[in-house]
């Protein structure tokens, strides 16, 4: 919402400067986006009198001009404008002045042998208009040497305010002035609207033709005919006023509507009555009905939209934009003025659907004053009569003004209770009254909001009015109580676990990433997703259309990009949601990590290509960090399809899959157009069991010597290491403290289809030092247990 200072002063008696007004506006909730003070911006530009303009000696299209600026000798400039001529007055910039359009300092130059010490400016160069065909011509009475802004009528600050969706009343200079007056910045002096008596019955009737469920689309429609008008340019002051806020003056009839729209927040429309067929009606559009609007575009409407129509066709998209075919032109003689009350929600929806913003929609969707339908029409009539002449009909009205006003019981104490602010009761009453509220009775008062404040719902809204006008800066800072003298822990076990997991992975060398929750559908499909239920209806980009079923595709996509940048070795992880469907809650908090590359090259040969055992180690480290103890549940071979079928594993607790890991399937790598090797893990963090015991058991080391014995077993190649280790452990549960696999061999010396697996067993007695015989007996048990469970034989 833009307005100029002089316009504001039509409604507000004030001496306040633009800057003061702007600060106050922001302070009371009308946030100032910009204050454009053209007078200040153009203060270096002066009125110049062209003493002489003659053809440039060396160029046909250039002129050599001498410009008098009221002091010193006339200044020589070279000018290319076709309208530069002796005796004119223009806007002059001396060398050294910054030209607004380019932001560059104007320099003394020599153009084809003639020195130029300044410039006569075009509207475009001053960023006042798009006109660059010629230089600005100032009126003859402009005083040479005075600031050009004054001669241009630009000595007026223009303030742009962002209006929140609840403040329809402040889409007008009137409403803004009212707020400012309440805030103590002057006195409201908006002229009242005098009715204009009609001289004859309106020849057109108006009807509201809506099905019962759509009656709110247009509750009231008032109109009148003015015949015998002469449409021409509006008065200069009106044109200046509209131009100052960036509107293009069109004609007197159209400018009337724009002026009242900004002045009073009352959108209107004027039809050329001679182009209308029969009576007027407001109705819903028909599906597919088309309308060529005033912006020159044809819109296809639907039955959710409201239109103003005559007996033949729709001529205006209600509350949004009028039609081209029935618009007023210079030839218009009879004009029909429409002032209606359109529904905020429907108007907004229509504008959105048609992608059409307009000053009318801006106001209707914030809510206009229902009591100002007829006054707005009267005001428009008065201006049309003043500017264009003509003879007004009586007003016809269909529907009526809905009165939704109701009294709110309001205790002044509420201001202190909610706002933390002590405002004296008389001041509360003063503020509310100044804003147009009716306040009656002793406390608690009965407060009724004015018709233009449909946003007022209850006491909390009244507190807001009082607090914002009294001044939020007066709200004191009040310490909150501490629920406990010393703060207690607040994180849930799950939240704590996620933190531990992050830190543990970072310690291992992983870089944490955070990526979008949406990925390309084709990619999602590779990871068990990509179904309709996980699609976004309105993705930000066509390839960010699917909720990710896993975090891994995000890591792979990121790694592929980094790989293309030359990072061969990467370790990335993320924690976040993986989605099972598009239902709320159908998501799991997961952690995924990816290792990529052959290992950083080193003279130490200390690194190796990323493989399944890296991923397994990462996964186990993560689980241990989360649980505070090693994860001992068995791991099964195989993982989902995006992993290498022979180099991947799954860790499940019962039916709940806790983690999967492995090398990435080559086809998946190909999908991401990246090179392996790559190994990854995915862990469902919320499936990690909570540790039940707190603290540790007592420390009781055995005083007796532990004994290590090695066993090299030959087993069938299909037998897993885990099977052998579990078999060995089962042989002497009390005695065996640890079993580790220290060698794996297949090849020469071991029969085809079999492998040699060497384990080291640590025997820890607790009741006495082991004798040779006891050790031998244990070894025998170990060998026979391994043989029984896995068919292992000792390698000879």
């Amino acid at each position: 919402m833009k307005f100029s200072l002089s316009w504001l002063k039509d409604h507000l008696e004030t001496d306040a400067a633009a800057a003061t007004i702007a600060d106050k506006l922001t302070a009371i909730g009308l946030e100032v986006e910009s204050v454009e003070d053209a007078g200040a911006r153009l203060k270096e530009f002066v009125v110049g009198y062209v003493v002489l303009a003659e053809k440039h000696p060396n160029a046909d299209r250039l002129r050599r001009c001498l410009v008098d600026i009221g002091k010193g000798e006339p200044i020589q400039v070279v000018c290319g404008a076709p309208n530069a001529r002796t005796g004119m007055k223009g806007v002059f910039a001396r060398a050294g002045v910054v030209i607004p359009v380019s932001g560059e300092v104007l320099k003394v130059g020599t153009i084809r042998g003639v020195e130029s010490h300044g410039m006569l400016c075009s509207g475009r160069e001053l960023m006042l208009s798009d006109d660059h065909d010629g230089i600005i011509e100032l009126p003859e009475d402009a005083e040479v040497g005075e600031p050009a802004a004054h001669a241009l009528g630009l000595n007026d600050a223009v303030i742009d305010v962002a209006i929140t969706p609840n403040r329809g009343d402040c889409t007008s200079v009137w409403g803004i002035a009212r707020d400012l007056a309440a805030a103590g910045l002057g006195k409201l002096k908006t002229p009242s609207v005098e009715p204009v008596a009609g001289r004859y019955p309106c020849p057109k009737t108006i009807t509201l033709e809506f099905p019962p469920e759509a009656i709110s689309a247009c509750l009231m429609f008032a109109g009148r005919l003015v015949r015998g008008v002469k449409n021409g340019p509006s008065p200069q002051w009106v044109q200046d006023r509209l131009k100052a806020i960036g509107l293009r003056p069109i004609s007197a009839l159209v400018d009337v509507t724009n002026l009242i729209s900004y002045d009073r927040g009352r959108p209107l429309h004027v039809f050329d009555a001679d182009k209308l067929k029969g009576n007027m009606k407001a109705r819903l559009a028909r599906d597919g009905e088309q309308l060529l609007a005033l912006d020159g575009r044809t819109y296809t409407l639907d039955s959710e939209m409201c239109v103003i129509a005559d007996e033949a066709a729709a001529h205006s998209i209600a509350g949004v934009m009028g039609g081209e075919d029935t618009g007023c032109t210079a030839a218009t003689v009879n004009v029909f003025i429409e002032s209606a009350l359109f529904d905020a929600v429907r108007t907004a929806a229509t504008g959105r659907k048609l992608q059409l913003m307009s000053d009318a929609r801006y106001r209707f969707e914030r809510g206009v004053d229902p009591q100002f339908v007829v006054p707005g029409l009267e005001l428009a009539t008065r201006l049309i009569l003043d500017w264009c002449g003509g003879e007004p009909s009586e007003i016809v009205v269909a529907g009526g003004v809905p009165d939704r006003r109701r009294a709110i019981a309001f205790s002044p104490e509420t201001v202190r209770r909610l706002g933390g602010l002590d405002v004296p009761d008389p001041e509360i009453i003063r503020i509310l009254t100044k804003l147009g509220f009716a306040v009656s009775g002793e406390a608690p008062h009965q407060v009724t909001a004015p018709s233009w404040r449909s946003d007022i719902d209850g006491p909390a809204d009244l507190v807001e009015e009082v607090v914002r006008i009294y001044g939020l800066e007066h709200v004191p800072s009040v310490p909150m109580t501490r629920p406990n003298a010393i703060a207690r822990p607040v994180l849930t076990p799950a939240q704590k676990r996620t933190r531990l997991v992050r830190r543990a992975l970072a310690v291992r060398g992983f870089n944490e990433t955070i990526s979008f929750s949406f990925i390309p559908r084709a990619t999602a499909a590779l990871f068990g997703g990509g179904d309709e239920a996980r699609q976004l209806e309105n993705p930000i980009a066509a390839d960010l259309d699917a909720l990710r079923p896993s975090l891994l595709p995000s890591l792979l996509a990121a790694a592929a990009k980094n790989q293309a940048r030359g990072f061969a070795d990467q370790m990335l992880f993320e924690t976040g949601a993986a989605f099972q469907s598009g239902m709320p809650g159908a998501q799991q908090t997961a952690a995924a990590g990816l290792r990529l590359g052959n290992g950083v090259r080193s003279w130490t040969k200390a690194t190796h290509p990323a493989d399944v055992f890296d991923a397994k180690a990462d996964m186990l480290a993560l689980l241990e960090a989360a649980m505070g103890a090693p994860m001992t549940a068995p791991i099964k071979a195989g993982a989902p399809a995006w992993y290498h079928p022979g180099r991947s594993g799954t860790l499940a607790l019962g039916k709940t899959v806790l983690a999967v890991f492995g090398e990435i399937h080559p086809k998946v790598l190909a999908h991401f157009d990246m090179k392996g090797p790559a190994a990854a893990f995915e862990v469902v963090l919320e499936a990690i069991p909570e540790s039940k015991s707190k603290g540790k058991s007592a420390f009781s080391p055995s005083p007796y010597q532990a004994v290590e014995r090695d066993f090299a077993f030959v087993v069938d190649a299909k037998v897993t290491a885990d099977e052998v280790v579990r078999a060995v452990k089962s042989a002497e549960r009390a005695l065996i403290e640890a079993v580790s696999v220290f060698d794996l061999y297949e090849g020469k010396g071991v029969p085809e289809g079999r492998k040699s697996l060497a384990v080291s067993v640590r025997l820890q007695p607790r009741e006495g030092t082991l004798t040779d015989a006891e050790i031998e007996a244990a070894a025998q048990k170990i060998v026979s247990a391994a043989a029984k469970a896995t068919g292992a034989v000792l390698r000879s």
């Binding site: 302070a27 909730g29 929140t164 969706p165 929600v345 909610l418 706002g419 933390g420 602010l421 909390a460 507190v463 807001e464 607090v467 914002r468 939020l472 709200v475 004191p476 800072s477 310490p479 909150m480 501490r482 629920p483 406990n484 703060a487 607040v490 994180l491 939240q495 933190r499 992050r502 830190r503 970072a506 060398g509 870089n511 944490e512 955070i514 990526s515 979008f516 929750s517 309709e532 239920a533 699609q535 976004l536 209806e537 309105n538 930000i540 995000s554 990121a558 990009k561 980094n562 940048r565 070795d569 370790m571 598009g582 709320p584 809650g585 998501q587 080193s602 130490t604 200390a606 690194t607």
Partner: protein, 358 residues
């Protein structure tokens, strides 16, 4: 010179001359072995008379002791020399780089979130979380944004496709639905912050279609705007690690709060860095307000008895401000260079006692 003296001289010379352990051992055997010269002398004592033995015994024994000591000393010297030689041969170029160890890092959003939680936890706020896909009802309707209300357009909502049961949900546009969920299941007093991913159809240098918000909610019988102001001031001082901040309040509009207030922070942006508490610039900090009685009603809390405040801010935005990160979109591009540059070391754990940042 006696024979013994001559013998001793010969042996000791041989010991000294022995160049390695084998030669020394040969000398030792020749002197102290079964048939060694010194051993023979000692044996000869057995055939002597007591007087002769008395006369020669001490000399022979002391000769043996001196030879043993000389051999041992020489042995030590030879071993030391051998060790020295080995150590010299084992010299490496210590300027060679160490074995590669990857440097992990924590994303700035995670780090800043931990900082924020550390601060609010001290005030007794717990951390509430909710799903990314939300019911329209929780994201909008219960927050006093009825269907088709123009205020919904402030949100640029992502919609998820229709589900099998015909329902249609949104990606939450703020973490306020977590407030709804909390109020529906917990009786006042309530003090929570709700951090998490949020989504809006928007993308430029200061907007990302996914970003992170944290919201605070306090519901009890007494909390008012003054408490809100104090909370945000204390938060800013703690978070930005400065002694004083100056805040400016602007009335605003949010359907879920009434009155609604936006807060700006005084700062100085000259010189490319942000300083707080000084300067002529104002930085938008948070949207906030007193929870709208309609919202309390919608969440089963009696607005005649309970009241409180809510506020919301961007975690990414706080990270950008505190750590000088220019473009929000870069947060989610997973560029390894960016992660390493702006990321935090694994052990940089923010605490109130040790300070939030290094």
């Amino acid at each position: 010179m006696t024979d013994i003296a001559i013998l001793e001289r010969q042996i000791l010379d041989a010991v000294t001359a022995a160049g390695d352990e084998a030669a020394l051992d040969a000398v030792r055997v020749s002197a102290l072995g079964k048939k060694g010269t010194v051993s023979e002398l000692l044996k000869s004592l057995g055939a002597m008379t007591p007087d002769e033995r008395k006369a020669n015994g001490p000399a022979f024994n002391s000769l043996r002791d001196r030879v043993v000591a000389a051999v041992a000393a020489r042995k030590t010297a030879l071993e030391d020399a051998a060790l020295d030689a080995r150590l010299v041969s084992e010299k490496v170029d210590v300027t060679l780089p160490v074995r590669p160890e990857p440097q992990g890092s924590i994303h700035p959003v995670s780090q800043v979130l931990e900082e924020v939680i550390a601060i609010f936890a001290d005030l007794g706020f717990s951390v509430a979380e909710g799903p990314d896909v939300e019911y329209d009802d929780y994201n909008f309707t219960r927050l006093n944004i009825p269907p088709d209300h123009p205020a919904r357009q402030m949100h640029d909502t992502f919609y998820v496709a229709k589900q099998a049961d015909g329902s249609r949900h949104v990606l939450r546009t703020h973490t306020s639905p977590v407030q709804v969920r909390t109020m529906l299941k917990q009786k006042p007093p309530i003090r929570i912050i709700s951090p998490g991913r949020t989504y809006r159809v928007d993308s430029d240098a200061t907007h990302s279609p996914m970003f992170h918000q944290f919201e605070g909610l306090v519901i009890d019988e007494v909390t008012h705007l003054g408490h809100l102001k104090w909370t945000l001031e204390e938060f800013c001082k703690a978070f930005f690690e400065v002694d004083a901040v100056e805040m400016r309040a602007r009335p605003s509009f949010f359907p879920f709060t009434e009155p609604s207030v936006e807060w700006d922070l005084r700062c100085d942006r000259s010189g490319g860095q942000i300083k707080f508490g000084t300067g002529h610039d104002w930085l938008e900090l948070a949207g906030s307000g007193m929870v709208n009685p309609r919202v309390l009603e919608n969440c089963g809390i009696d607005p005649a008895r309970y009241q409180g405040y809510a506020f919301g801010g961007g975690i990414d935005r706080l990270a950008m401000l505190k750590y000088g990160i220019p473009d929000i979109r870069s947060f989610f591009e997973s560029d390894l260079r960016w992660l390493r540059h702006y990321g935090f070391a694994a052990l940089d754990i923010p605490t109130l006692d040790g300070g939030l940042s290094r």
